[in-house]
């Protein structure tokens, strides 16, 4: 059924352009059917899955490569499905209101549906390679969605950056999977986790996999693609770039952490990167003016938080991370939807221009407050529950992790409080900054436009107030990750615990941060952002382009003599080196059998050298002809008159043809600038000559067996009925060769004819 549901996504995506052509915006209703079907299916199977019975399905693909579409849904996957398909349905509903009717909605809906399917695949794949397949499919669909407004340069650039960064990580991850899988002897994720392999190769594999996870989940220093991706339409930002795709890396780390948390570098690296990301993201969010960018940096920060919690691999932190995944999916998505509504109704997202929207958009404002409060970690909302658990977990695991992660988490949460306040104040309450111009007029959004955001806000409230409702799901998810651990029950009130005091501290510090925002902004101006991430990407791309152009300019310089020289040198050096260095001549054969041969050979050599020395074309042709006649003479001396005769004919014909052509060419060779020095030409020529000579000498003396020519001599007359062995070879023994050569001649004639015809048509046909 899961396979069928994935196929349904594909089918719906393929049909989307056609449907959009007829139904316009209703295509989103059509496409929403796919995630809706998943939600229905998952609800039906939830009972069993929550009770610990995972659902599995397999489709064979390439058995020889251990490539099989193995799908497995356990508690954690179920929670992810709730995010992927549950939020997915809301996003499709929202898109219906968000977009004006336009002709290319079909391809948008298709890509969005494709993404929903791919993301579903990521969270249910059990085969590592298939996980990679879906992983990259989310990158590709994300590329298409970020670049939806493809006539904007900015959109194309951001789409490309997101694609390259995540695919680069993905490729590393693929290599990591191979290393881990081959060490484990299985490419099934659940089996690898059940019996984690060890060793250096596995360690390297894990590092590579983490590279994939960090790039996908926008961790420092790979985070800069995510804010860029905000050029995408808001449904995309809400869905891919906050609720689902960017959590893929967190998802994978969460899966691996319990099994590999004990690997020496794992915790320092993953928790360290997570906390750093949380701080950098929060800090950067504090100075954004675009509401969407503010949220994007907030997402980076929260992803860092989740990475740290789920990467720690300890039971308490894992449980907190699972709840945070759920909470973040709800509040951040709701906030993005709010920004989309604001953008739509007020025409801007710049918080310097927005003002007083709390009056114009009261429901939107309410949703923003609820979701924002959850993000800031205020009770009685799900975000608060998650944060309390996180503090608790990091405290409980401090013996393993140290106190630094806890300190980082508190600091990050203070920043979170600060940018949440900035978001709500700037977006809905602040008096307008006169310098930025008059506040725009806002329309009231329709009920349908509001509904998805309201739903998400309601989830935040209900699950916050009555966390028991999410108990089953989060417990099952945590159990799926940490098999032997009994997770605590979710509760709003934990009593007066250290975590509560930390929460109080967070709020107080957060309020102080907001109160002193003017000074903070000034400080930010002076400190600047984290240097390097975006610049590093730009420089890498730029450098690659320049390296390519430089190298190609040298390698592919368009000079035929250079090409020929390289090929000849390779031919002389590689095989020549192997032959001449490795062997010796046991008994050198006689170099000549008669003085006549010596004389003719010297003549050939002189004529060869003369050919290339001649300045006049005509003389060069005559010299070349002399070389051929010399060779023919050698044939005569060897007692092969047929061959000699053929050679004489060919040479004569060639000389005549050359002379005919020469009528149309200048008398002398044009004086080219010698690109390749004269000396180098000598080296190449002599080198190739020596190589061929030595090679022929060696080869000629190496023969141990009877040559097949004996057979021809013996069978020419009795079997083929011919006295002339050469003729019989040509027309009978090896007639196929002759057929081929005749074909060559015919085609050459056709080529000449076609060129002549073309030139008669008046087009210049070249030489």
């Amino acid at each position: 059924m899961l396979l069928a549901l994935l196929a349904l996504h594909v089918a719906v995506a393929l049909a989307a352009p056609t449907v959009a052509g007829r139904a316009g915006r209703w295509v989103f209703a059509f496409c929403g059917l796919a995630p809706a079907a998943v939600v229905v299916w998952a609800s039906g199977r939830a009972g069993g899955i929550l009770a610990g019975r995972a659902v599995e399905e397999t489709l064979r693909w390439v058995p020889a490569l251990d490539l099989a579409v193995t799908l497995r849904v356990d508690g954690f996957s179920l929670l992810m499905i709730a995010l992927v398909s549950g939020v997915g349905v809301l996003i499709f509903a929202y898109s219906w209101s968000y977009f004006e009717p336009r002709p290319d909605l079909g391809r948008f809906a298709a890509a969005l549906t494709g993404f929903a399917g791919a993301m579903l695949g990521v969270v249910v794949a059990d085969n590592l390679f298939v996980l990679y397949v879906f992983w990259e499919l989310t990158s590709i669909t994300s590329y298409l969605l970020i670049g939806f407004e493809d006539d904007k340069e900015e959109a194309r650039g951001a789409a490309l950056q997101a694609l390259l960064v995540t695919v680069a990580g993905g490729l590393a991850m693929l290599a990591g999977f191979v290393l881990i899988g081959s060490a484990a002897g299985t490419y099934s994720l659940s089996q690898v986790l059940a019996e984690p392999p060890t060793g250096t190769a596995v360690g390297i594999g894990l590092l590579l996999v983490l590279l994939g996870a960090f790039t996908k989940s926008a961790q420092v220093p790979f985070h800069s693609w995510l804010p860029g991706a905000m050029v995408a339409p808001t449904p995309v930002s809400a869905y891919l770039h906050s609720a689902t795709m960017v959590k893929a890396g967190v998802y994978l780390v969460a899966r691996l952490a319990p099994a590999f948390g004990a690997v020496v570098f794992w915790r320092p690296l993953v928790v360290g990167v997570g906390v750093a990301t949380m701080l950098v993201g929060g800090w950067r969010a504090l100075r954004q003016f675009d509401l969407k960018l503010l949220l994007a940096f907030g997402t980076v920060s929260q992803l860092g938080f989740m990475m740290a919690l789920l990467g720690a691999g300890t039971p308490e932190a894992t449980f907190a991370g699972v709840v945070l995944l759920l909470a973040h999916g709800a509040f951040k998505c709701a906030l993005f939807l709010v920004v989309g509504i604001v953008d739509h109704e007020a025409g801007t997202r710049d918080l310097r221009r927005l003002s007083g929207l709390r009056h114009a958009l009261p429901i939107t404002f309410a949703v923003a407050v609820v979701a924002g409060a959850s993000m800031a970690g205020l009770p009685p909302l799900l975000g608060f529950v998650a944060k309390e658990l996180a503090y608790d977990g990091l405290l409980a695991d401090a013996h393993q992790l140290g106190l630094a992660p806890l300190a980082g988490a508190v600091a990050g949460s203070v920043l979170t409080f600060g940018y949440t306040a900035r978001f709500l104040w700037g977006g809905f309450a602040s008096p307008v900054d006169v310098r930025a111009g008059a506040p725009p007029h806002a329309h009231r959004p329709s009920a349908a436009f509001l509904a998805p955001a309201v739903t998400l806000a309601a989830v935040t409230v209900v699950l916050g107030a009555l966390p028991g409702l999410a108990d089953g799901l989060s417990a099952a998810a945590a159990t799926a990750l940490q098999e032997h651990h009994e997770p605590p029950h979710l509760a709003l009130w934990h009593g007066v615990t250290p975590a509560l005091w930390l929460s109080v501290l967070t709020v107080v510090a957060g309020v102080a941060l907001f109160a002193t925002r003017g000074r903070v902004e000034a400080l930010q101006e002076r400190v600047g952002g984290l240097p390097g991430a975006q610049e590093a990407y730009d420089r890498a791309v730029d450098g690659l382009q320049r390296l390519s152009e430089g190298l190609t300019g040298v390698v592919q310089n368009g000079s035929l003599p250079v090409y020929l020289a390289v090929i000849l040198l390779t031919a002389a050096v590689l095989p020549g080196g192997a032959v001449l260095l490795g062997g010796s001549l046991a008994s050198p054969p006689p170099l000549a059998e008669s003085w006549a041969q010596v004389v003719v050979t010297v003549g050939i050599l002189v004529a060869s050298v003369a050919t290339v020395m001649m300045r006049r074309r005509f003389a060069a042709v005559l010299m070349l002809g002399s070389v051929g006649y010399g060779v023919a003479l050698l044939f005569v001396l060897q007692g092969a008159p047929d061959l000699a005769l053929t050679q004489f004919l060919i040479e004569t014909l060639s000389v005549i043809l050359f002379v005919l052509v020469l009528r149309h060419l200048p008398d002398r060779f044009s004086h080219h600038r010698w690109r390749l020095g004269q000396a180098l030409r000598w080296v190449v020529a002599v080198g190739v000559g020596v190589f061929m000579f030595g090679f022929a000498l060696m080869a000629g003396t190496a023969r141990t067996r009877q040559p097949i020519s004996r057979y021809f001599l013996e069978n020419s007359l009795p079997e083929a009925g011919g006295h002339n062995v050469v003729n019989v070879i040509l027309v009978d023994f090896r007639g196929l060769d002759t057929l081929g050569e005749i074909t060559v001649l015919v085609v050459a004639a056709l080529g000449v004819a076609s060129l002549v015809r073309a030139s008669r048509r008046g087009e210049p046909a070249g030489p």
Partner: protein, 508 residues
Amino acid sequence: MSVLVPLPVAVSLLGAAVSLALHGRVRLQRALGLAVCIVATGTAVALLTIVQREGVVATQAGGWPAPFGITLVVDGFAAIMVTISTLMLLGCLVYAFGQLDAERERLYFHPVYLVLQAGVCLSFLTGDLFNLFVAFEVMLIASYVLLVLGGSQEQVGSGMTYVVINLLASTLFVSGVGLVYAATGSVNMADLVGRLAELPPNLRGGLGLLFLVVFGVKAALFPLFFWLPDSYPAAPTAVAAVFAGLLTKVGVYAVMRTQTLLFPGDGGPSTLILGVAGATMFVGVLGAIAQSDIKRILSFHIISQIGYMIMGLGLYTLAGLAAGIFYIVHHIVVKTALFLVAGLVERAEGTDALGRLGGFARRAPLVGALFMLPALSLAGLPPLSGFVAKLALVREGLALDRVVIVGVGLLVSLFTLFSMTKVWQRVFWGMGPSPEAVPPGARHGQATAPIAGGSRVRPPATMLGATAALVALSLVIAATAGPLYTITERAAADMLDTTDYLRAVLGG
């Protein structure tokens, strides 16, 4: 069943002769060409099935016993290559119906195209080193004539580089055959297996390297590839697509055939060949990144991709060779398809220069999809055929601890993606070309009205159909990769263990 072995060659040559006699009657020539290509493809599929069932099949030309006559032999590798090649030739022929202008088509396109098919098939089927030389000559002259067909100045100029360098390679080739005969007294490949093994190692090694260089020129390996990007883009698209898909792969085939059958070395991974593979991948892809015309970009990618195939050879294990063969099959289809798409763009817009294009996907969404799929496959992204091929290589490379080449392969894969997105972003995305950017005489543009920004582009059915069929074929390859991979594995097994091949050719 050995009667089928020479059929792809024979039917093509015969067809070429008849087609020549039909000069001037283009419709009949088309029908004949189509029929010949279909018969050749059918025969090839039959051969592939027979080989799967019965193992290697050989036939002796003229009935002269091996090693004295010329042997034609089909094993798994050869059967795969003939099948995929004839399929491509069929597809490109259909495409050519829509693409070639009448004048060029009348200028002996059809007979020469069939001769090219004969040459390609003979290269795969022959079991004789000298006959392989002849097959290469047939292929070379046919390709040269197709390249300069119509005779524009640019075509003849770039044809010059092509023919001079290939003639040099031929000279080296025939010298190599001469040296082999001098050393062993035979040119039948199966017969040579035993004879070469008796030679002193330096001589055998030298001969092996000489043939590596010779076929390396044909296959466009580093550092012998220069001729390729300078000549392919000038040809008419249907022809360039055949060249891009097939001709270099004939070279790769010859490299793999000779290096496994005749010069197997010591049987382990070869650092030299892996080094060549890595350099070919890397330099090729950088070349592609430096270009700004679609066909030139694609031409450099041919080189880069050849590196992956050669990597399979360099690993020299069952899985490595199987991966290499699978890569060849995948690549032939995908690369041919990409060239055909480039032709669709060029036909509609009158240029393939990135700087003068844009917004094509809006006006021809189907063409956009037809580009996107093979482009991603070329970069090895899942779940397309290129992914399966690359995964196979990566797995085997890591299993053999050949970390460097795997790293290069993955990096080049990323660069390939970068280069492909460049084409996508500048041709298919973005604003349409401004009217003055399109040359007034866009060659075939009359019927398709390319200039107005919003109008839909409708390529001729034959061109679009052929392109779509090839893209669909690449998807089928991905979907049926399981059974296909089994076939390539069996072919690779026959390359490593030549017993079956020798028995089929020499008897006993």
